[in-house]
Symmetry: C2
Subunit: 160 residues, 2 copies
């Protein structure tokens, strides 16, 4: 099992764009949006597929089991089996030595939503974060991708 330890923030402006080191297109859907047993199908850049299981969140930690699967399988599951409501986003990876910082710019039904995730590798969660991060929404289940997928067409702004 892996344990995902992350904090999540809304991102109001465009200042973050200067720190982007790579961009990937992520399409994902869900076989279960039950937050105690989320099952996600993900296709990255149309050339990699993943099947991921996540357990209940405890604070900023969450059990996570991720397996690479053939991309053709992932595309089929995404298009034929997943629940209605999908996520289509550009994932911008920003550089930092203390944590992994990604900025997800949502398209489709969630156009306009920009969310940053800070994922910690070590024990410390105290490293200074960039000033351009907006309101912290860690633990706010409305901003889980599973919940977003289940609410297509919701008119979120990046600053609620």
């Amino acid at each position: 099992m892996g344990v995902e330890r992350e904090r999540k923030f809304l991102v109001p402006g465009d200042e973050w764009r200067a720190e982007v080191v790579s961009v990937h297109r992520i399409r994902q859907g869900f076989l279960s949006t039950d937050l105690r047993r989320v099952v996600r199908v993900r296709v990255v850049d149309d050339n990699a597929g993943y099947l991921t299981v996540k357990g209940a969140r405890h604070g900023i930690s969450r059990a996570e089991y991720e397996y690479p699967v053939p991309v053709a399988d992932a595309v089929e599951m995404l298009e034929r089996l997943c629940l209605p409501g999908r996520i289509d986003k550009l994932r911008h990876v920003c550089g930092s030595e203390h944590y992994e910082l990604i900025v997800d710019e949502f398209g489709g039904d969630h156009q306009g939503l920009v969310l940053a995730e800070v994922e910690y590798h070590g024990e410390s969660t105290e490293a200074a974060l960039p000033g351009w991060l907006g309101t912290e929404v860690t633990g706010d289940d409305r901003y889980s991708n599973a919940a977003l997928a289940a609410r297509p067409g919701t008119d979120e702004g990046s600053t609620p």
Copy 2:
């Protein structure tokens, strides 16, 4: 994607035991019991783990995606993340050149239930079946393992 093509039968007597060539203990639970997108976690003989996704059934066919996962992951998902209600059964593999014939003898909450599954590899589904098979329950969703797991404690007999 694989396509599972199988017929399912109740097994009333003990005649089948003479044809068994191997036995495995299967423990499994479900992350989704929605029959359009079943997600199953399976542990075989405590030394192999699988994560399996199944789509809706069309006749005797069903889309199936199965991936081996580390057995420690499978045990954790089974014990911590799966929905209440699990399946614990002995899977008896019987020999045949035309199809794969298995007899599942359920324990735990479903003690007394014995189900045979005939899985076809080629196109034909006409090969003669053994006379000891009872009532056919192909397509009867009450006998899907996902539905059984969701109904723990139900008092099924092998001949309803």
